[in-house]
Symmetry: C2
Subunit: 352 residues, 2 copies
């Protein structure tokens, strides 16, 4: 696969983003959705901010208080044996099977560009956590333009679980929430850009606690707000690069051969790559083809090293004739872009 990484990469880093919160620092500007509007490339960044650590043996954990809507910070002594702090992203209480706090809070913020390489970042948040389902933040958006409106799906994180919220904008100035469309545990939801046979489709990625894995499912809707007829679509591949976790990345790309979905996959070592599948143009619940090898793997320095290294994670692409401009988060830290040939991706698919 020929991959042309922009010379300007990384396009946006945490240093480019002024924190919204006093005594916080930006540690991530990554996993952005991307679209075009009025001649501009718009990235909807996930910005992660964390409290500045002044004391050596303290970790501070932030969340939004539901009653007041205010950002709240709690300090945890790193020597306190009740806590496990080995994963830099979370604070875990020993004896519990999952984390209790995140070490940063994420919200969505807009970056704008004329050339797709140089971006200016809006001052405020575009979508800030709100209500009891977003106490720990909002993350990893995707944008799908449908009939002149831009629909945004995003991860909503709270003590009740990780679900997927829907919001809509027409101008990337104001935004309206449409509720949680996939309940916990779910992430990585992309909407198809048009009805297929009269029906809207979405790819989603549930994470069952019991039997079943973090695999890709497909669901149907008539109004984008309500979803049903869930079907299992794409399994993990034991022993391969996408063996432990997969999820839809960019919203599906319509091609004459079918719907092309660029998805992420991780292996046992938590290396995240991007791969490709093809779905039937008239029935996207039918998997036609899957690429054996990833189309993008972490190779550049900025993809190998960061807050959580060895990660390329795309939430959106711009397609112009045979060029796929794949925007992607790197190392849970920054944003990058690479161009690939659509025809080459399609040529790499193995039909089932």
């Amino acid at each position: 696969m020929n991959v042309y990484r922009y010379e300007e990469n990384p396009l946006i880093t945490p240093a480019d983003v002024r924190p919204l919160h006093e005594n916080f620092e930006v540690i991530g500007a990554f996993n952005a959705a991307v679209t075009e509007l009025d001649g501009e490339v718009i990235m909807l960044l996930r910005v992660a901010e964390r409290p500045i650590m002044e004391e050596p043996n303290m970790v501070k954990v932030p969340w939004i208080d539901v009653e007041s809507g205010k950002l709240t910070v709690h300090a945890i002594d790193t020597r306190d044996s009740r806590y496990d702090l080995r994963d830099p992203r979370v604070v875990q209480e020993r004896g519990k099977s999952t984390w209790s706090y995140l070490t940063s809070i994420s919200y969505l913020r807009i970056a704008r560009s004329k050339d797709g390489r140089h971006f200016d970042i809006d001052d405020g948040a575009f979508l800030y956590p709100s209500g009891n389902l977003e106490i720990f933040g909002v993350e990893d958006p995707r944008i799908t333009a449908i009939d002149g409106a831009y629909y945004i799906t995003y991860s909503a994180i709270s003590p009740a679980g990780v679900g997927v919220g829907l919001a809509v904008t027409r101008d990337f100035r104001s935004v309206e929430r449409m509720g949680m469309i996939f309940p916990p545990e779910n992430k990585d939801v992309v909407l198809f850009p048009e009805r297929v046979g009269g029906t809207y489709y979405a790819l989603h990625r549930p994470v069952p606690k019991g039997v079943g894995g973090p695999e890709i499912w497909i669901a149907e809707s008539q109004d984008l707000r309500h979803w049903g007829n869930h079907r299992h679509l794409l399994p993990l591949r034991p022993g391969q690069w996408d063996s432990t976790r997969i999820g839809a990345g960019a919203p599906p790309i319509k091609t004459p051969s079918g719907w092309l979905e660029l998805y992420h996959g991780a292996d046992e070592r938590n290396r995240y790559c991007m791969g490709a599948i093809l779905l039937d143009l008239n029935d996207p619940t039918k998997l036609l083809a899957r690429a054996e090898q990833p189309i993008l793997v972490p190779e550049a320095d900025y993809e190998r090293v960061g807050f959580f290294g060895d990660v390329v994670f795309s939430c959106g692409a711009l397609v112009s004739r045979d060029i796929v401009k794949l925007y992607y988060g790197v190392s849970d830290t920054s944003m990058a872009c690479a161009e690939l040939r659509l025809s080459e991706i399609l040529g790499a698919l193995t039909y089932l």
Copy 2:
């Protein structure tokens, strides 16, 4: 709480049900949905059958082969150290966090009664597992009558996860599937019997793998097939009888005070009891009241001892004026019924 258990309890036991499959035995006839039609009480039983064990050191695990639609049995040597067989319900592979096989396969079967105490059991299955989302069976149905149709929600079990299917019947002779309405991991879905403010509601119980617990959520629909606007409704109560797992039981009961939901809760010792909450009549996303103590606890022999003991688990109730006839599964084995006073349940609620 005054509880009148029927003298005929248990009303149906596995011995009353002829197995559908050759060389299988019925080990459970339990967790039945209940409704009334043409002067009959209809129970939709979960019937669990398992392969008869002829050899002492073998466990046989059944599933439905997707291609052929045929029941398939695989034998596992109990001395094989790769497997953990301590839970009688499942076969677990060591080193995996969840089960790989069930030791029985469940399907839905009808029992009919004139008096609600003596039941005749239909010969065949009413809803038999079908397709790749029901490979390991269908379980724990609920029935809600809406506008002359009977909607059935049930757990669909497969290697891809445990989700919730919807089906509809008008006569309890034929049935039509309407797809999976809640993707994995989810169970314990009850539909409200009418629109509230123009909207259908359902209670559901996701099980997130990461943050969040097996708690009760509420969702909205316009057509019963597609669901959205998911909201968190009812938390676990650490240290109490409903500390580890809760889920909706009987479909919500309309009372002048609000929607009464009789739900199940389990504690650290896996004792399942039934409890009660009250939701706002005009906005069921609002929790008005919750009973501190359970309304039904395992006390009778048949509730204490069985395939999985110390369990009372209701999937449906019939209400006649002030009498709640609570049908419930006992010890994952049989069916029982107890009468409680509606007024007494409502009187036991603590308003928030």
